[in-house]
Structure formats: structure tokens, C-alpha cells
């Protein structure tokens, strides 16, 4: 087992100075950095095996196809899917959710139906459902986020009244990208199933940080992005249960997803091809497979301990700052912490932090309605990953003190 310090050596980008200070990258909630192994896999693909997939019988094409389909199988194993045909390659979480919100929702939603989601969703797991509801005449309802007492948790008691048989689909995030809340997703799936609702888990913030087993969770669909889990940009996954995928109409159409095409019409291949029209992001898929190897090599249970542990330390230390408001649960939480000051705006905080070599994010984190509910316009967020250290939290806290001093005098 490598130690956490060894891990830093795997990430070339970390070894640079920003504004004369060592880079402290705490913006992992937005995107993660890439280990050498993933970058090398991309280079190797382009230097040795690059070819279009599926439709070729020459050596490069067979190699590219094997590597691409191998990545699919690798990712199936990573989330313990029953069948690699359940892994659809997409651009990322947002596209994955849009596919369900169009293909599934178009076929199944009608006026009187309810789509249920929560008040803590990222815009990418919110606006597509607004659109699907609008297009179908279904109602969109929200599981409330709890306030001061059980800060940042979902109001599970409300499910008793919200989860009616009218609910056809329940979409929720695994970990909130703003609050850090870890939702009880297996329980939510179980309760949704009890009323016959299809479940969609937004795993963008959890996939790279902890073990995840779709069969154990019992979800119908699950979406995530490669770029947040050490993988390349432009690649992500929609997991769908085979039985559901086989009944779903395609979303995009074109080359590679058809069986028979005439001038009059076309028939579709089964999943996963049905949902992968056109030339896919071959290099990206291969890189994502290598990212799975990398994360499993570090042991994902240990990653969870490490990342969530740093977030708890940061929560503690930041809470000592005068007039700070730290969002989300106090105890168990995902590997990120957002906070706000009443008198200093997050963008000014981030600009000062940048001068200290710190990469943190300030804004609404694609979470405008939740922000409004919390009475905030923006927060600063520090989000942690395998290469972060406890010392970096001290750099963060020191930077915050300096910023407060400047603005408060």
C-alpha cells in the first residue's frame, strides 16, 4: 500500500507553484487531477492503437475495440454492475441524466404523475427533470432539506407523504456537492421501489471517493463523470439496469447504434450500443478504465476514510473562524466543506486564496435554489481528494484569516 504522501508523486500537476506558492488544489468537487497512469494511457492509445471502433477488422481497429470494450467491462466491475451492457458511455453526469430524463421520461410520464427529487440537487439533476415534467405534464416535487437541527440532511419523514404511487421516478444525489451531506441512497431506493418508482442516483460526488455497488444500492439508473474520479474530460457513464435499458428508446441516433437502415426507417441495436450514436470518446473511455484501476489500487474504502476525514478536520478548524457559517452536517460527511462569511463575498475569498496558491471554488456551485433557501448567494468550497493533506487545511485556514483581516480591518 502506498502512503498518502506517495500518492502525490503520481500527479504531475501538483508539483508547481501558483503565484509563487506551492499549489494547494482543493477544488476536487469541480474536477479531480489525473495520475500519470491515466495520462500515459491516453498517450499510449494515440501513439499505438488509435482507430475507430466496432466497424473495423484491421489490427488497430481490433485493438481499439478491445481496449474500449475492456474499459466498459472494467467500469462494470468498478460499480459491480451485473452486465457490462449496463454501462453506457456518455460525456458526463449531465448527459447521463439528460438521457434518462428524455428517453425514459418521454415514454413513461403523463399528466398526474409525479417526479420526485430533492432540494439539494445540482442543476444537472434538477433542470432536466423540470424539462421532463414540463414536457409530459407531470408534477415535480422536492424532498425538503432540513434546517438548523439536522443541518443539511434530507427530511426523510416527508417521504411518507411524498412517496405516493403517483411517483414514477425519484432522482437524488448520493453526496451533495454543496452541503457535503451523504444521503442514505440504499434506503431511498428501497422506499422508491416499494411504490414502484424508478430511481436515478447522481453519483458525481461519490463515485471517486468510496466503494459503490449498484446491486447493493438497488438503483435503476446511476450517473457519474470520469473527470471527477481521476479520469479524462469528456467521458462519463450512465448505468442502467438491463431490463430497463432494453425497453428504452434511443436518445441520439446515427451510426453505430442501428441494425438495419432503409430510406424509410431504422431499427436499433440493444444496449449499450443503442445509446452510443456516433464515434465515441474512445481514448476517454480507456482512460477512465485506467482511473478505476488506479483508485482500486489505493483501496476505495481507505480513500473514503482519507477524504471524509480531511473534510471533518476542515469543518472543525474552519468553524473556529469568527462569524463563519459552515454548511451541512457536523459529523459524517463527504469529502468537502462549504462555508460563508456575512461580510466577505466568496469571490473575494477565492481571489485572495489564489494568491496563496490555493485553488478553492466560490459561487453557487450550480445549486442556486438551495442557496436561496439557505439565505446565501454564494459560498466558498474546499473539496478533498487522495493527494490532499492535513497541512493543506492549515494553509486554507491561514488564508481565510488573512482575507478576513484585510476586509474587516
Amino acid at each position: 500500500m502506498p502512503t498518502w504522501k506517495d500518492v502525490r508523486a503520481d500527479f504531475p500537476i501538483l508539483h508547481q507553484q501558483v503565484n509563487g506558492k506551492p499549489l494547494v488544489y482543493l477544488d476536487n468537487g469541480a474536477t479531480s487531477q489525473k495520475p500519470r497512469a491515466v495520462i500515459d494511457a491516453l498517450v499510449k492509445y494515440y501513439e499505438r492503437d488509435n482507430s475507430n471502433v466496432h466497424r473495423g477488422l484491421h489490427a488497430l481497429s481490433m485493438r481499439a475495440t478491445d481496449a474500449y470494450e475492456g474499459a466498459r467491462a472494467r467500469i462494470a466491475k468498478f460499480i459491480n454492475a451485473a452486465d457490462s451492457a449496463e454501462i453506457i458511455f456518455t460525456r458526463g453526469t449531465t448527459e447521463s441524466i439528460n438521457i434518462v430524463a428524455r428517453s425514459w421520461a418521454q415514454a413513461h410520464l403523463k399528466p398526474g404523475d409525479v417526479v420526485l427529487t430533492t432540494e439539494m440537487e445540482h442543476h444537472s439533476n434538477l433542470v432536466p427533470w423540470q424539462q421532463a415534467a414540463k414536457a409530459s405534464g407531470a408534477a415535480l416535487k422536492y424532498v425538503p432539506v432540513l434546517g438548523t437541527n439536522a443541518e443539511g440532511g434530507l427530511d426523510l419523514a416527508s417521504l411518507d407523504t411524498l412517496l405516493t404511487p403517483q411517483v414514477k421516478l425519484f432522482a437524488f444525489t448520493h453526496i451533495s456537492n454543496t452541503l457535503g451531506t451523504i444521503n442514505p441512497v440504499a434506503e431511498l431506493c428501497r422506499r422508491a421501489r416499494a411504490v414502484g418508482a424508478v430511481t436515478v442516483i447522481d453519483a458525481a460526488q461519490s463515485i471517486g471517493h468510496a466503494p459503490l455497488d449498484v446491486q447493493e444500492l438497488g438503483c435503476d439508473f446511476l450517473a457519474f463523470s470520469g473527470h471527477k474520479m481521476c479520469g479524462p474530460t469528456g467521458i462519463g457513464v450512465l448505468y442502467g439496469r438491463r431490463a430497463l435499458l432494453d425497453k428504452l428508446a434511443p436518445d441520439e441516433t446515427g451510426g453505430g447504434m442501428v441494425v438495419n437502415v432503409t430510406y424509410q426507417g431504422a431499427t436499433w441495436k440493444p444496449a449499450p450500443e443503442r445509446f452510443e450514436a456516433g464515434t465515441p470518446h474512445i481514448a476517454g473511455a480507456i482512460g477512465l478504465g485506467v482511473a478505476c484501476d488506479y483508485l482500486d489500487g489505493l483501496d476505495r474504502a481507505k480513500i473514503r476514510e482519507h477524504d471524509d476525514g480531511l473534510a471533518r478536520i476542515a469543518y472543525e478548524k474552519l468553524s473556529a473562524l469568527p462569524d463563519i457559517r459552515v454548511l451541512g452536517p457536523k459529523g459524517e460527511r463527504g469529502g468537502l466543506v462549504s462555508f460563508a462569511f456575512p461580510d466577505v463575498h466568496a469571490h473575494d475569498v477565492v481571489t485572495f486564496a489564489d494568491e496563496d496558491g490555493l485553488a478553492v471554488r466560490g459561487g453557487h456551485h450550480c445549486n442556486q435554489p438551495l442557496m436561496r433557501k439557505l439565505g446565501l448567494t454564494s459560498t466558498t468550497r474546499a473539496s478533498f481528494y487522495v493527494y490532499n493533506t492535513a497541512e493543506e487545511i492549515d494553509v486554507l485556514v491561514a488564508s481565510m484569516r488573512r482575507t478576513l483581516k484585510f476586509f474587516r480591518g
Binding site: 475495440t65 470494450e69 452486465d83 457490462s84 441494425v259 431499427t267 441495436k269 440493444p270 450500443e273
Partner: protein, 151 residues
């Protein structure tokens, strides 16, 4: 020519490709199934005259590479007179041969397809006709494809 390629294009395969047996639509057929290989465009229809559980007669039609056409042709010669269970057992052996390359001696004819195993992309060509035949036996008139991931 490489040993691999010589293995792939055995004489018996070339022969079946040039002079396909039982080609065309069988007039007495009471079962039919169609197979598609969407990536290549290979197609194969199999026509069965089923009497009880037994294949009284059969034929194939379609277009595709030498491997797929020869395999379908050879299959028709092998399945005539077989029961559904015997046909399935024969396919299982055939599938074993094309995926592992191990052909028992006594099966010289379907053993000719052992060379396919070094060309994994061609396995679906070799099994296309067989899939159509098994589907026809199941009286499942839907289009079959060998494009699945377990091939």
C-alpha cells in the same frame, strides 16, 4: 501467406464459400429466422422444415464474408435430420471450437473453423447462421444478432 490465415481459410471453408450447399429459400419450410451482423452488414436467413422435434430439411440465404457464408452452408449439412436438442449440442461444440481452437479429431468438418479463434472479430461471422437456425428452432421469428457482448 501466414499460418494463421491458412488456418482461417481452410479448404473446406473456401469450398463451401464457392459452392454453398442448401442455398435459397426452402419451399417446404415451416420455420424461418433472420440473423444480422449490424457492424459488418452480414445477413443470414435460415429456413427449416421441422417435423415434430426433428429438422427434416433446411436451407439458408444471405450475404457476407467467406467465413459467414461457409459456416451457414456447412451448418445446413450438419443439422439435417437432427433434433432440436442435438442441434443445440452441435452448436455448443461449434462455439467451443471457434472460441478455443480445440477441435476433436472426429469432427473434421466443423473442425475446419478452429482457425477462427485467432481472429476474435470473426467469431460473430462464424456463428451468425447457427444463431439464426437455433432461433428458427425456437420458433422465434425475430431478427437475431451476433453483436452481443458474450460472443
Amino acid at each position: 501467406m501466414s499460418a494463421d490465415l491458412t488456418e482461417l481459410y481452410q479448404q473446406v471453408i473456401l469450398d463451401h464459400n464457392r459452392r454453398p450447399r442448401n442455398r435459397g429459400r426452402l419451399p417446404t419450410a415451416n420455420r424461418v429466422a433472420h440473423g444480422d451482423n449490424p457492424s459488418c452488414g452480414d445477413q443470414c436467413s435460415v429456413y427449416l422444415q421441422l417435423e415434430g422435434d426433428r429438422i427434416k430439411d433446411l436451407s439458408f440465404d444471405g450475404s457476407g464474408c467467406a467465413i459467414s457464408q461457409a459456416s451457414a452452408s456447412l451448418m445446413t449439412t450438419q443439422l439435417k435430420g437432427k433434433t432440436a436438442a442435438e442441434a443445440q449440442a452441435l452448436y455448443d461444440q461449434f462455439h467451443q471450437i471457434v472460441t478455443t481452437g480445440n477441435a476433436p479429431d472426429e469432427m473434421s468438418d466443423i473442425g475446419a473453423f478452429a482457425g477462427v479463434h485467432t481472429f476474435p472479430a470473426r467469431i460473430k461471422c462464424a456463428t451468425l447462421g447457427w444463431h439464426a437456425a437455433l432461433n428458427a428452432l425456437k420458433s422465434d421469428p425475430t431478427t437475431v444478432t451476433t453483436e452481443s457482448h458474450n460472443d
